[in-house]
């Protein structure tokens, strides 16, 4: 029932002939730190691209083109992972529109989610998502917010065994259901876990991040800016001069550097609608990543504000 009009939207989006921005060069762009996915050793840049809210633009052609421009800048800057979900409204068709416009860049690492309580509809939903993206298969499929995970995970493991996807994961956000997350991390052979982690929301440090290191599970970090509110909160405060030694020149970069410098974190996925912001985010993945002493200093500085 839901999203029946989205197929129409997608058809509209794909049918529009627009000038191509140009396919990003497949050669790796230097600068963005890469981390290995423990289960395979494959390396991905520590900065990805989230799509919650920002890519939910309906069938607005102006906004679809803005999103495609963000994707183009993301790939040109060395980014790989784009993360979405069936829960995100029209974000999936928007990604599909952008990918088609960019001629499906080789470097794309597609991260999707299954989000449906009826376990028998999981495969159907994944197929619908794949059609929206226009990719042959997803690199990563995650169980969104642990919805019916007991039923979905075996299906995803089966799809992975059949090479219909490459990695399996689970997600949560804002510190919810961490006990259940850790139980799954301990008992299931998942490749990825996605949680909220930022300089103020650090519950993940207690158990999830150490457990991910121990079990060899890659970590995706969502809500790095608390949906932008962290940056708005800090914007009036002075950026400490000593952070310049890491290469950070804005609060967004300060916050991202804190996240991706945690050794358990594989990739953070800030979302944005702006090309200058996606470039700024990718820059944060380069330069010097803070060591433990600088991380402590960053924490003390923000907590004192």
């Amino acid at each position: 029932m839901r999203f029946t009009r989205r197929s129409v939207l997608q058809g509209f989006a794909l049918g529009v002939s627009l000038p191509l921005i140009g396919q990003p060069a497949p050669a790796e762009v230097a600068g963005v730190t890469r981390r290995a996915i423990p289960s395979s050793g494959e390396e991905i840049p520590v900065i990805g691209l989230g799509t919650w809210i920002t890519f939910n633009v309906g069938d607005d052609p102006v906004l679809q083109d803005e999103c495609a421009a963000v994707m183009a800048a993301f790939f040109e800057g060395g980014g790989r992972m784009i993360d979405s979900s069936p829960m995100y409204g029209s974000s999936q068709p928007t990604i599909g529109y952008g990918l088609q416009k960019l001629k499906y860049p080789d470097r794309l690492f597609s991260a999707e989610k299954v989000w449906i309580s009826d376990p028998t509809s999981g495969a159907e939903q994944i197929e619908a998502s794949r059609a929206y993206w226009g990719v042959k298969r997803f690199d990563l499929m995650q169980v969104h917010n642990l919805v019916s995970w007991e039923e979905h995970l075996p299906m995803l493991f089966d799809m992975k065994a059949k090479a219909q996807l490459r990695y399996v994961g689970i997600t949560t956000s804002e510190g919810r259901r961490h006990q259940e997350i850790t139980r799954i991390m301990e008992s299931q052979p998942i490749d990825f876990v996605q949680v909220t982690y930022n300089i103020l929301d650090r519950e993940a440090e207690e158990r999830i991040l150490p457990l991910a290191q121990e079990k060899g599970i890659a970590v995706i970090v969502n809500r790095p800016f608390r949906q932008g509110s962290l940056i708005r909160q800090l914007d009036d405060e002075p950026l400490p001069e000593w952070i310049a030694e890491t290469g950070a020149r804005s609060w967004a970069q300060f916050l991202l550097k804190f996240i991706v410098s945690h050794p358990a974190v594989t990739c953070a996925i800030p979302a944005t609608t702006r090309v200058d912001h996606v470039r700024e985010n990718l820059e944060a993945g380069g330069g010097v990543l803070p060591d433990e002493a600088i991380r402590r200093r960053m924490l003390d500085y923000v907590e004192a504000l």
Binding site: T54, G58, Y88, S90, G175, Q227
Partner: protein, 227 residues
Amino acid sequence: MSDWWTYTPADFLMFSPRVYLRLVERYNQDFWPLQLVLVTGTLAIMVLAAMHVRYARIALLPVFAAAWAFCAWQFLWLRYATINWGATYAAMAFFLQAGLLALLSLRASNDVLSVSRWRRYGGMFLALFGLLVHPFLPLLATRSLAAAETFGLMPDPTAITTLGAVLAIRGKRLWLLLPVPLLWCAFSGLTLLAMEDRGAAVPAASIVLVAAFLLISARSRARSARH
């Protein structure tokens, strides 16, 4: 969602205010000048119905039914649902309301103005607010009237105007017409609150006013019965 208490309205907001406003602007452009036709036409029918003009009385509820159906189809189903999957369910509720309006319009006694003064004037105030004032609310937020929300095209003024009209008239089972617009006002108020839009106060105030007018009317009726 076992930990439902940890969620806030903002957690359910899945689009940005900019995307929503552009959606409304593009929708208005698609149908201009239908907005003027609907507002002036409905106003004329409401005034004539209040003056006991027979055809206007007969036309009142069917006009409202058409407005709810149009809003459900063109805005909620075809447009809003592209950025908010919850709008699909809202569209169904709006179609239900259109059906109820059509059904109840068959009753001959619906066209009599309410005997309670508070209900009558309160209802008229709400209906006129929804019809004539609501479209100008963007000006308060220094936004363009291109994003004006008008009766018959957008859900908020349609719901508020309907609540006012239902309050103002008397008829059996008309209470059946209250739940959907009241629920919509609650949903819309929470959505606007999550968007940090001061307009959230309008649907919220509409709910309070309907409750207040009904309560005052019931008390005044009870007092009259005692005397």
